[in-house]
Structures are given as structure tokens and as C-alpha cells.
């Protein structure tokens, strides 16, 4: 079965909140899962793999690899706007647009089991994208995996507009395009031709994060209470090999 599939409101609230907790309190503090910030800064970690949202991480500062080009990043800057993506499992090289040689780090087993029970694929690599209103993801295709297996996408937080398109089926025919409004808890599966379709996120809709998620990570995390109110998180899971 191939095509573009929508699973509206697939994930219950509790599952969505656990995905946030596992990705941001646990996996972000694991050095094997790299982020966009690792490219140009020396990323340091909270003591005992504590969460970056914890008080113990409050004073951390990431020094730039080249001070002539980049400035230090404080925790406030990191979690508010500088952190744009985290890679889980296979660590994609966004500059060279390839996966590095050698076996990839293990994919978080609990998220792997969840994804593999929902979708007909193996969860081997994922990119967790973070957006705020005004952020976009340009048109691109995900063509670097060594197999034609499906790609699963899970939305959390604010609504996002998702544009996906293929050229016309025959030369001279118009492009085949669909525009979706994706909401928190929705999942999308791209398989067959749509697996390699052009896709993008041209807009994040401010004020659309579900009420019960807005306060995440919650008042026990002090200054980060309400962090999710202006965020859209997309967990984009791929199978790397047949």
C-alpha cells in the first residue's frame, strides 16, 4: 500500500506528553543524539544527564568553536530559539546530506517500539524539528536513506501548514500538490512515490497549541513553564536500510 496517509488525532494526550518528556528531558541530554547547535558550538551537558530544563542546567553556556564567527549560547537562547533539531539514532549530516559511514547509534527503544507498532516500518533514524511562529522548513526531499521504506511524521504542539508535491504524472501535466493543516497528535505516513516527494512547512499557526499541552514542561520546571505554548515539534522517523 503506497501513497500519502493521514492518521488524524492518532496519539492520545498522555502519549504526546510522554514523547515530549522522553525527547527533551532524556534524549536531548544524551551526547549520542546530536543537534544543530553541535555544528558550531561546544555543547556541554547537565550533571548526571539531568534535563536541560532543570535548575542544574540553568547556568550552562555553549562556547563557539570559532569565536570570530559565532557568539556563546546561553540556556535561555538554546531552548527558546537556537535549538532547531535533534537527531535520534542515525545521525544525518545536514551539510553533506548523507548519513556517516559505520553503524548508527541505537534508536531510543521505547519510541522505536511505539513507532513500529503503529506503522509498517523500522524506526532507525529520526529528526526532531522544533518550530516557533515565523519559522519555516523550506521545500526539500528526503532522499538519503538506503531504502524505499515509508517515512512517518508525528506532530506535537502548534498547528503547522504542510505542503507536499510531486511533478505531473506525465510531462506537461500540472504538479500534484496537497496542503495539510497538521494538528497535535496527528501522524502522516509517506510511502511509495510520496516518500520522496517535495515537502515543506511554510507556516506555524500561533495560538493553536492544545490547552492541556501549553504549560509543558510544567510549573516544576520553573522558568520553562509554558514553553510549549509557542512551539511545534515534529518527530520525523525514517528506516535507513532494507
Amino acid at each position: 500500500m503506497v501513497g500519502l496517509f493521514i492518521y488524524p488525532s492518532l496519539l492520545p494526550q498522555e502519549v504526546q506528553l510522554q514523547l515530549l518528556a522522553k525527547s527533551f528531558h532524556r534524549d536531548l541530554s544524551d551526547p549520542q543524539h546530536q543537534t544543530n547547535v553541535h555544528m558550531f558550538h561546544h555543547v556541554t551537558y547537565p550533571p548526571e544527564r539531568d534535563s536541560y530544563f532543570a535548575m542544574s542546567a540553568k547556568e550552562l553556556v555553549f562556547e563557539p568553536k570559532d569565536p570570530a564567527v559565532h557568539k556563546p549560547i546561553t540556556m535561555q537562547q538554546y531552548l527558546t530559539k537556537k535549538l532547531r533539531w535533534i537527531t535520534l539514532g542515525g545521525q544525518y549530516d545536514w551539510t553533506k546530506k548523507v548519513y556517516p559511514d559505520g553503524p548508527p547509534p541505537a534508536f531510543p527503544p521505547d519510541i522505536k517500539e511505539l513507532v513500529e507498532r503503529m506503522f509498517p516500518m523500522k524506526a532507525e533514524a529520526a529528526i526532531v524539528n522544533l518550530y516557533s511562529p515565523g519559522d519555516t522548513l523550506s521545500l526539500h526531499r528526503d532522499v538519503s536513506e538506503e531504502c524505499d521504506q515509508p517515512l512517518a511524521s508525528i506532530s506535537l504542539g502548534c498547528d503547522g501548514i504542510f505542503v507536499i508535491g510531486l511533478d505531473g504524472a506525465e510531462a506537461g501535466e500540472p504538479a500534484r500538490v496537497a496542503t495539510l493543516r497538521l494538528r497535535s497528535g496527528d501522524a502522516v505516513l509517506m510511502s511509495g512515490e510520496s516518500r520522496y516527494a517535495w515537502h515543506s512547512v511554510p507556516k506555524i499557526l500561533e495560538g493553536t497549541c492544545p490547552t492541556w499541552m501549553q504549560q509543558w514542561p510544567g510549573s516544576e520546571w520553573q522558568q520553562w513553564d509554558g514553553w510549549m505554548e509557542r512551539k511545534r515539534i515534529n518527530l520525523n522517523v525514517r528506516q535507513m536500510f532494507d
Partner: protein, 100 residues
Amino acid sequence: MATHLDAHAKPPASIRQIYKHFQKLDPRAVDKDDGIIDTQSLHESHPHVSSTSLLQLPANIRETFTNFVGGQITATEEPKVYSVNAIPGKSANLNIGSEL
């Protein structure tokens, strides 16, 4: 790797125009835009999607969810799956992108 496709290729102009349209769209106009498939409004006779039973979730998916959260989950409707009519199914190795 999908060797028949170039990771550095530029997107077709027609799809780029649609991207720019939505990038510039006033958020207040989103609700009125008939071209947007809102996942909250899908149903059996929706003009842009088709209900499908070919990708059904396993019968014990609720158990998967409770295992994942380590506790109970709130009751939810039976999950449904829709295919998007504009992006039809076709095997990925059939000349996709040769002209992209």
C-alpha cells in the same frame, strides 16, 4: 540511498509558488482556505481524501499506548486512516524525479 534522486536538486517552480503562497498567507485566512486539508475535518465523503482500511492500526494499539506511558490513557475514538487523493500511490522506483 535513493540514488536516482539528487539531494541537492532545486524544487519545481510550480510547487515553490504554492509554498510561497502559504508562507505569505495571513493566518486569519487559513480557516477560510478551501485548498487546505484540515485533519480535524476529515470524513468519508471529503473531496480531497479517501478513507482506507488497508493501513489499519493493530487491534492492540491501545495496549501499546499504555505501555509507552506506563499508565492509563484517556478514551479516544477509534483511529481512522485516510489517503490523500492528490498524491496517489505508486512504487517509488518508477521513474520518480527523473525530470525533477
